[in-house]
C-alpha cells in the first residue's frame, strides 16, 4: 500500500513512503524524530524559504520483516492557518502541495500532560481527512492523570499510541502503528460543530477552491475554512488563488458584525474540551513540571537575580566561545600550514603546486577554521534551547531589543558576532520569522569580530602615535573606541534597516515559556553536528570557490622574473583566523610581482576611489586580499612590501608602514590614515565567508549583495568623513 495518494505530486512508487511528523511546539517532536530515525537525518530547506526541514530514514515492521519509511519533521506550530510562506509549510507538507512530496501518513504528536493545548493542531490536521496516527508523547510526565488512549482512539477514529520519546519508550509501538497506518490508512471522523452561519460561509468559499485543492468533502470543507481564516487583504501568501482570496474578503466584509476567527477557534476549542473530558479525568492545568518551572522562574526571571544570572551566563557563553575554540583553531591553522609546506616540498615548483597549496588547501583551511566556533556555538545554543532558557532570554531582553526593532532572540547571535560573524549568522535560526533573521544577519557583521583585531593591532602599532591622550594610553583607548563605535553603529543600523529595508509587518510578541527540562546531550550533539555539516556543504563550497578566485587574482598574470619561493605562511593570527589564500611571500627582490597581478591592477584602478579616504593602491590590494578574511590584510600588505616574514607581531611590516615616504618625503601613511583605515574595517563587509553564509541562510544572493553594498557605502562615507574632516582640522 505504499502507493502515494496523489499521482500528480507523488514520488516514484519505489521510493520509501513519507511519514510526516507534525505537532505543536514543545511536545517533544524532535526527540521522537531522533528516536525513530536513530538521529541520522538530513537538514534541508523548504524551497524558497529558509525554514529548516529535517528528514531521515526509519525502519518499521511488516509481516515479512521490515520496510524503510522516510520520516520528515515539520516545524512545530499551533495551527495550520497561515499568513506567510513560513507559516504555510505545515499545510503544504501535509497536503503535498507547493512542491512538497505527498506524505503517505501523518503522525501528529501531542503532549500527554497538556492534551488541550496540543490538540488544536491535532483537530486542524484531522479536519483535513488525511491518513493519521496520533502519538501521545511525554506519557511519563502524565503519571498523575494519564489520558485514556483507547478512549482517544475511539473518539478520533485513528490509531493512537503512547510514547516517552526522551527515554525511547513506546517507540517500537509507534513504529508498528506507523506500519499499520501505512497498510490500512485511517482518517479521523470527528466532526466539529460550527455555527450554521459559519458552515454557510464555508460552503460558499468551497465553490471557489482551485482544482488542485479539490478532493473529498472533508478536505474541501477544511480548506475552505483554512482560506477563511488565512486569506485577507494583506496576507503575505502571494501565490494563493486570487478568486479564493477575493471570496474570503467578500464573505468577511459581508459579516462585519460577526467574528469569524472567534467562531472557528471557539468551535475547535469546544470540540477539544469535549475530547479532553472524555479521555482524561482532568486535564491537569499545572502538572508537576510546571510547578518546578515556576519555582525556577521565580529566581531566573527575578528583576535583580534573574538579570544577574542572565548576564553571568552570557559572559560565560561569550568567553567560552573565544577561549575554548582558540586551541582548536591554532591546531587547524598549523595543520594547514604544515600541509601546505609538505605540498611545496613534494611537488615541483610551478602553477600546479601553488594552486594545490594556496588555492585548494588554503581554501579548505578557510572553511574548516570556522568549525571550532560553529560547533561550540551550536552546542551552547542547543543547550540553551533544549533546557528552555532561550525563551527566557527573549523574555528578559525583549524590551531592549524591541526598541531597536530586533527580536529578543537576536541577543545571543549579536553577542556571538563579537567572536565571529559566521557562527553568529548561523545562530539567527533560533528566530522564527524570516524578517527578524534577515535584520539580525544584516547587522551582525558590524560587530567587532576577532578577525579585525590583528588588523587594528597592526594599524595602531604602526601608525598611531604612542603616548597618552587625557591620561590614557593611545593603544587601548583606540581599541576600546573601535568596539564602542561598532556597537553604536550596529544598533543604529538595526534601528534604521528595521524601519526601511526589512520593515515587514510589526509582529507582536507571542512567546511561549516552556517548562525547564534537562537537555539531552545526544540530541544536542546530533543537531550541532547536522547544522555544522550543512554549513560545510552549503557555505563551505562558496568559501572554497572564493578563496581560489582571490588566489588567482593575486597570482595572475604570473611574472616571469619573479620565481615563487617557498616561504613562511603567516602564523595563526587570532581566533577565526583563516590561512591566507596567497600566503607564499615572495623574495624582497620580487616585491612588485603582486603589483602586476590582476589584484594589483584592481588595487590601482581603485586608487581614485580610495584616495579621498587617505588610502593608496597598496592598501587597495590589502583590502582585496582581506576579502578572504579580514586578518589576511596583514599578510597581503606584507606581500605588497615583499616582506617574507610575518609573525603575530608583524614587526617588520609595522616599521615599513611607519617609514614609508611619498616622493616628496612626507610620510605615506599618517595617524589619520590609520584611523580612517580602522573605521573602514569596522564597517566594510570585508569577509567572503560572511557573505557566503548569508547567501546560504537567506537562500539567494540578494541579501548578501545588499549587505556588501550598504556596508561598503557606510565604510566609505565614514572613512571619507574621518579623513577629510581630520585633514581640514590639520591632523
Amino acid at each position: 500500500m505504499n502507493e502515494p495518494r496523489s499521482p500528480a505530486l507523488s514520488e516514484p512508487p519505489s521510493a520509501a513512503p513519507i511519514v510526516l511528523l507534525v505537532g505543536s511546539p514543545n511536545v517533544g517532536k524532535s526527540s521522537l524524530f531522533n528516536a525513530l530515525t536513530g538521529g541520522h537525518a538530513r537538514v534541508g530547506n523548504y524551497p524558497g524559504i529558509t525554514v529548516e526541514r529535517l528528514s531521515g530514514q526509519a525502519r518499521v515492521p511488516t509481516n515479512t520483516g521490515a520496510r524503510s519509511v522516510r520520516v520528515t519533521d515539520v516545524p512545530g506550530t499551533h495551527s495550520l492557518a497561515a499568513r506567510s510562506r513560513d507559516e504555510r509549510v505545515a499545510l503544504d507538507s501535509i497536503l503535498g502541495a507547493n512542491g512538497e512530496p505527498q506524505p503517505a501518513l501523518v503522525v501528529c504528536v501531542v503532549d500527554a500532560t497538556q492534551l488541550g493545548r496540543s490538540s488544536y493542531l491535532l483537530l486542524s490536521v484531522a479536519e483535513l481527512g488525511v491518513p493519521l496516527v496520533v502519538a501521545v508523547n511525554m506519557i511519563d510526565e502524565a503519571r498523575d492523570a494519564p489520558p485514556d488512549v483507547a478512549e482517544l482512539e475511539r473518539a478520533l477514529g485513528v490509531p493512537c499510541v503512547v510514547t516517552d520519546a526522551r527515554r525511547g519508550r513506546g517507540v517500537d509501538a509507534l513504529r508498528a502503528t506507523i506500519a499499520r497506518g501505512l497498510e490500512d490508512p485511517r482518517r479521523c471522523d470527528l466532526e466539529i460543530d460550527y455555527p450554521p452561519a459559519l458552515v454557510a460561509d464555508r460552503e460558499e468559499l468551497r465553490q471557489h477552491l482551485p482544482e488542485p485543492w479539490r478532493g473529498d468533502d472533508r478536505r474541501e470543507r477544511a480548506l475552505a475554512l483554512w482560506a477563511l481564516a488565512s486569506l485577507d487583504e494583506d496576507d503575505e501568501l502571494d501565490d494563493a488563488p486570487r478568486a479564493l482570496r477575493e471570496a474570503a474578503i467578500r464573505v468577511r466584509a459581508r459579516h462585519a458584525d460577526r467574528d469569524l476567527d472567534r467562531e472557528i477557534a471557539t468551535g475547535r476549542w469546544a470540540a477539544i474540551e469535549r475530547l479532553v473530558s472524555r479521555v482524561t479525568r482532568r486535564d491537569d492545568p499545572h502538572p508537576q513540571k510546571r510547578r518546578g518551572t515556576e519555582r525556577a522562574d521565580r529566581l531566573l526571571l527575578h528583576p535583580v537575580w534573574g538579570f544577574a544570572i542572565f548576564v553571568a551566563l552570557m559572559l560565560a557563553l561569550f568567553q567560552s566561545l573565544f577561549s575554548w575554540s582558540e586551541p582548536a583553531i591554532q591546531l587547524i591553522e598549523s595543520g594547514v600550514s604544515a600541509l601546505q609546506g609538505a605540498l611545496r616540498a613534494a611537488l615541483p615548483a610551478g602553477l600546479v603546486r601553488d594552486f594545490a597549496s594556496e588555492g585548494v588547501v588554503g581554501g579548505v583551511g578557510n572553511v574548516i577554521v570556522f568549525l571550532p566556533q560553529i560547533l561550540l556555538l551550536f552546542l551552547l545554543l542547543g543547550l540553551l534551547e533544549d533546557s528552555g532558557y532561550m525563551a527566557r532570554v527573549a523574555y528578559l531582553m525583549d524590551r531592549v531589543m524591541r526598541s531597536l526593532g530586533l527580536h529578543g532572540r537576536a541577543f545571543v547571535p549579536m553577542l556571538s558576532g563579537f567572536a565571529c560573524a559566521v557562527p553568529a549568522i548561523l545562530a539567527t535560526r533560533t528566530m522564527e520569522r524570516q524578517r527578524d533573521r534577515t535584520l539580525t544577519m544584516l547587522v551582525i557583521p558590524l560587530m567587532t569580530c576577532s578577525a579585525r583585531l590583528p588588523v587594528y593591532t597592526l594599524i595602531i602599532a604602526a601608525l598611531l602615535p604612542p603616548g597618552e591622550v587625557l591620561g590614557l594610553s593611545v593603544a587601548p583607548l583606540a581599541l576600546t573606541s573601535m568596539y564602542v563605535l561598532s556597537m553604536v553603529v550596529s544598533l543604529a543600523a538595526a534601528g534604521i534597516l528595521g524601519r526601511t529595508v526589512v520593515r515587514g509587518r510589526r509582529m507582536p510578541l507571542l512567546l511561549e515559556l516552556p517548562p525547564y527540562r534537562v537537555p539531552q546531550p545526544r540530541a544536542v550533539l546530533r543537531m550541532t553536528w547536522r547544522r555544522t555539516m550543512s554549513f560545510v556543504r552549503e557555505a563551505g563550497t562558496t568559501i572554497l570557490a572564493c578563496t581560489v578566485v582571490l588566489w588567482a587574482l593575486l597570482t595572475f598574470p604570473r611574472s616571469e622574473t619573479a620565481p615563487v619561493v617557498a616561504a613562511a605562511v603567516p602564523a595563526a593570527a587570532a581566533a577565526a583566523a583563516a590561512p591566507a589564500p596567497a600566503t607564499g611571500a615572495r623574495e624582497p627582490a620580487a616585491a612588485p610581482a603582486i603589483e602586476r597581478t590582476w589584484g594589483g591592477k584592481l588595487g590601482k584602478a581603485l586608487e581614485p576611489a580610495l584616495e579621498p579616504l587617505g588610502f593608496d593602491w597598496r592598501i587597495g590590494v590589502g583590502l582585496i586580499g582581506a576579502f578572504a578574511a579580514r586578518e589576511v590584510f596583514v599578510s597581503t600588505m606584507a606581500l605588497v612590501y615583499g616582506l617574507d616574514e610575518v609573525d603575530d607581531e608583524a614587526l617588520p611590516l609595522r616599521e615599513r608602514l611607519r617609514l614609508e615616504r611619498r616622493p616628496d618625503g612626507t610620510p605615506r601613511y599618517r595617524a589619520l590614515t590609520g584611523i580612517s583605515l580602522m573605521v573602514f574595517f569596522a564597517f566594510a563587509a570585508q569577509c567572503m565567508s560572511t557573505l557566503a553564509t548569508v547567501r546560504r541562510e537567506t537562500g539567494g544572493w540578494r541579501w548578501p549583495a545588499f549587505m556588501l553594498g550598504y556596508m561598503t557605502t557606510l565604510a566609505w562615507v565614514a572613512s571619507f568623513l574621518v579623513y577629510q574632516v581630520g585633514t581640514s582640522l590639520g591632523f
Binding site: H78, S79, A81, R83, Q114, G116, R117, Y120, A229, D232, D261, R262, I264, A265, T266, R268, W269, E273, D283, D284, P285, H286, P287, R290, R291, T293, E294, D297, L301, H302, P303, V304, G306, F307, A391, Y395, L396, D398, R399, V400, R402, R505, M507, P508, L509, L510, L511, E512, L513, P514
Partner: protein
Amino acid sequence: MSLADVSPGQNAVIQAVGGQRAFRRRLLELGLLPGTAVTLVRVAPLRDPVELLVRGTSLSIRRAEAACIEVAQLTSAASEPLASGAARGPG
C-alpha cells in the same frame, strides 16, 4: 479593565480579545477565548513583556497587546495563582 491592568499574581476571566487580526487569531487559537481564566504570573524585569498562564501554558505578550484583552477580575484570586490558572470557562 484590560489584562494590562491586572497585577502580578492575580486571576481574571477574558471578556473580549482585540488587536491586529493575525495576532488576535493566534491568541484565539491558543485558547484565549471569552470566558477563559487567565493568571498574570509576573512582569518582566524591564516592566515589559508580561507572563500569562492560560490553559496550563505560560505565554508572554507585551503590555500593548495585553491592553487589547478585556478581562473581568476574579475576586477570590491572589491566594494561589497557579490553582485556578487554567480553569476552563464556558467559551
